[in-house]
């Protein structure tokens, strides 16, 4: 009954010779930063695009570091770090077309970034100022969904709407490895398959659901789940932004074309704690983290850019400076963020306000005023 944790080689060739190879893993950039080809997935990227991908990766990490610091200083209630998952998120986010719609969990700050969501709007949620934070319609980036897996059905339904509009667009649902165990997620697979919905399920397998290792959710590689529902599944190196970009683009194109859903398993690792409330030393070994550090998604692209001469020290210094500016803006914006008014909670329950709530709002105001006197 006890499950012995067997590690699978996350990134073949990356200093883990004791681990079995993963022939199914799509990779376009090795952990050492070497560009490789894949028989099924190719990618044409200009040097400028490469640099801009790097910039995205670096900036969202800087944002993440700043948010973590702000939480430690008591400015945020909690923060869910994306560290280690930047390539998965930027790769997927950058694959999206303008008309596509993204349905995140609560950790997709990188995708938010690619959709032009202001980091302060995300911060606002974790600070406790807001239940949402940004405009999901204008950004085409849905609000975070905390109830594990619920957004997969929303994305699928949205995709059914796209179909009815005969629009050239797709939906993408983000989910974690743990989320694959939720019944609703598996129902989303069924709906998507049955209706050939233009939706991509993008699963970041970061090896853990809080403390629970992936082996507890599935004994076989997650990407294999899809075939049994009648659509393709693919495992991509989630720390390789190029591979993620290529695989996600292909899946979105397939969806838009009317060929139905794809399940993408981005094989990656959560470098930090589950959230700032979590203590990962209780359930995982330092060794594991060290191994994964060798596969850092940002270092990898940096190595590629430097070695190939596609970016120079000045470029990297520029990005660093931009990062510091971003962090300063986030810090300042957070500290200056006004608290919401108490009446806010009464104002958005319904599109058409009820008399009951209007009366409670009035009573609340009168009560508050009683104190002020």
């Amino acid at each position: 009954m006890t499950a012995v944790r067997e590690m699978v080689d996350p990134v073949p060739g990356a200093a883990a010779p004791h681990l079995p190879a993963q022939p199914d893993l799509v990779q376009l950039l090795t952990p050492e930063g070497e560009r490789v080809e894949h028989p099924e997935y190719s990618l044409d990227v200009t040097d400028e695009e490469l640099r801009s991908l790097y910039r995205d990766l670096a900036l969202v990490r800087r944002w993440d570091v700043e948010a973590t610091a702000l939480q430690r200083q008591g400015e945020l209630g909690i923060w869910a770090s994306l560290q280690g998952q930047e390539a998965a998120q930027i790769g997927a986010g950058r694959a999206l077309g303008e008309a596509d719609m993204a349905f995140p969990t609560y950790r997709e700050h990188g995708v938010a970034w690619t959709r032009g969501v202001d980091p302060l709007d995300v911060i606002s949620l974790f600070r406790g100022n807001d239940l949402g934070g940004w405009d999901p319609v204008a950004t085409r980036f849905n609000l975070y969904t905390v109830v594990i897996g619920a957004q997969c059905l929303h994305a699928t339904g949205y995709a059914m709407g796209i179909q009815r509009d005969t629009a050239d667009a797709a939906a993408i649902a983000f989910l974690g490895d743990g989320a694959t165990s939720q019944g609703e997620v598996n129902e989303a697979f069924i709906w998507a398959a049955t209706f050939d919905a233009p939706v991509v399920f993008f699963c970041q397998n970061n090896q853990y659901a809080i403390s629970v290792p992936i082996e507890r959710q599935s004994k076989v590689p997650l990407f294999q789940r899809a075939a049994g529902f009648g659509f393709p599944g693919v495992r991509v190196d989630g720390n390789d932004v190029l591979a993620v970009l290529a695989v996600t683009r292909a899946a979105l194109a397939r969806a838009r074309e009317g060929s139905g859903p794809t399940f993408i398993e981005a094989f990656t690792y959560r470098m930090g704690a589950h959230t700032t409330s979590d203590d990962p030393t209780r359930y995982r070994l330092a060794d594991e983290l060290e191994e994964w550090k060798l596969r850092d998604p940002i270092a990898r692209l940096k190595a590629h850019l430097s070695r190939s001469g596609k970016a120079d020290a000045e470029f990297f210094a520029g990005v660093d400076a931009e990062g510091d500016e971003l962090a300063a803006r986030i810090r300042k914006g957070t500290l200056e963020m006004p608290d919401p008014a108490g009446t806010e909670m009464f104002d958005h329950v319904y599109a058409e306000q009820t008399e009951e709530i209007a009366a409670q709002r009035a009573a609340f105001l009168a009560y508050q005023e009683g104190f002020e006197k």
């Binding site: 719609m101 319609v137 997969c152 339904g157 009815r164 939906a171 049955t194």
Partner: protein, 324 residues
């Protein structure tokens, strides 16, 4: 004017709503070719096509969850839950998503979803086919909840619910599907979230909704023979509640009895009793009394007549109220 059964009135209302708004999409189990197990969607797939009347896979969370996505894309999904007892697999989507997305998005994402649920007992069915889960929804902020009792309301309220920008859980009294009445298909309906005095009286105010309105009216009829005058209010809306007509009535009668099939504990009667006891404290000559299902598991159908409130149990409560 047309004579319609309650079921046919719903069917006609659905058809009208689909004609009026191309964004209305129906989803549910067996609603297409079969026309629904109660035939409420009969003929609609044939006339509006498979994209607008969708036979779904067998999973209620999937039905409601994809409806959320469709609503986000600008559609107005109307979903059918086959029977009251089968809404629970969708409960997570309803309570944590449908009910909260408007607030979460500060109104950027309205949820104009209608969730139709045939409810109540009295049709001799097996387990899970006779339940009255309305309080679970009325307790949930972010949802609106209505129950219809007659063909005309069924016809109008369904159209109003579909057009309404907030999610509406729409309860249909399944044992009254075959009841007939005249329906004016062109009359302007009263507002959706309003209750209505359906019979005037002076001695006791009797509240009911859905299938129990008929029972309440029968009780009033029977009481009259004994010289007692009952005022009957059809609540129609369970959330928000519209208690103004009730309070007006109770201030006159001084007595109030609430009837529903759902189990008594924490049923709608509890909320109504709490509110009316407060708002009419000085007028009440007897406590607000409740006639509901017993606090037991819905029994096998051979016992449902004994489980369900009926004319006699209503009259007995009226007697008790008068006796205070």
């Amino acid at each position: 004017m047309s004579t319609l059964t309650l079921g046919k009135a719903l069917n006609t209302g659905l058809r009208k709503a689909m004609e009026d708004d191309p964004k209305v999409v129906l989803m549910g189990e067996d609603i297409g070719k079969l026309g629904g197990v109660f035939r409420i969607t009969d003929g609609l797939q044939k006339d509006f096509g498979e994209a607008r009347v969708v036979d779904t896979p067998l999973a209620e969370a999937g039905i409601v969850g994809t409806a959320v996505g469709l609503a986000m894309r600008g559609y107005k999904p109307v979903v059918e839950i086959q029977f009251d007892g089968f809404v629970f697999p969708a409960y997570n989507q309803i309570v944590t998503q449908v009910a909260k997305i408007h607030a979460r998005s500060r109104g950027k994402l309205p949820m104009p979803i209608t969730i139709r649920i045939p409810f109540g007992g009295g049709i001799g069915a097996v387990e899970h086919h006779s339940e009255s889960p309305e309080a679970y929804f009325a307790h949930t902020t972010g949802l609106k909840v209505v129950a219809v009792s007659n063909p005309a309301d069924a016809y109008w309220m369904l159209q109003q619910a579909i057009a309404h920008p907030d999610p509406v859980v729409f309860f249909e009294p399944k044992r009254r599907y075959w009841d007939k009445a005249e329906v004016d298909l062109d009359a302007a309906p009263p507002p959706l979230f309003s209750s209505r005095v359906v019979r005037a009286g002076d001695d006791v105010t009797l509240l009911a909704y859905g299938p129990m309105v008929k029972t309440a009216l029968q009780a009033a009829e029977a009481a009259e023979a004994e010289g007692r005058s009952l005022e009957v209010v059809d609540l129609r809306t369970l959330s928000p509640l519209d208690l103004a007509p009730v309070e007006e009535s109770v201030r006159r009668t001084g007595r109030c009895v609430v009837v529903h099939e759902a189990q008594t504990t924490l049923g709608l009667g509890a909320e109504i009793a709490a509110r009316v006891s407060e708002s009419c404290f000085h007028s009440l000559e007897a406590p607000v009394l409740r006639v509901g299902g017993y606090d037991v598991t819905y029994p096998p159908s051979k016992l449902e007549e004994e489980y369900l409130p009926d004319l006699d149990r209503v009259l007995e409560a009226v007697d008790r109220s008068m006796g205070f």
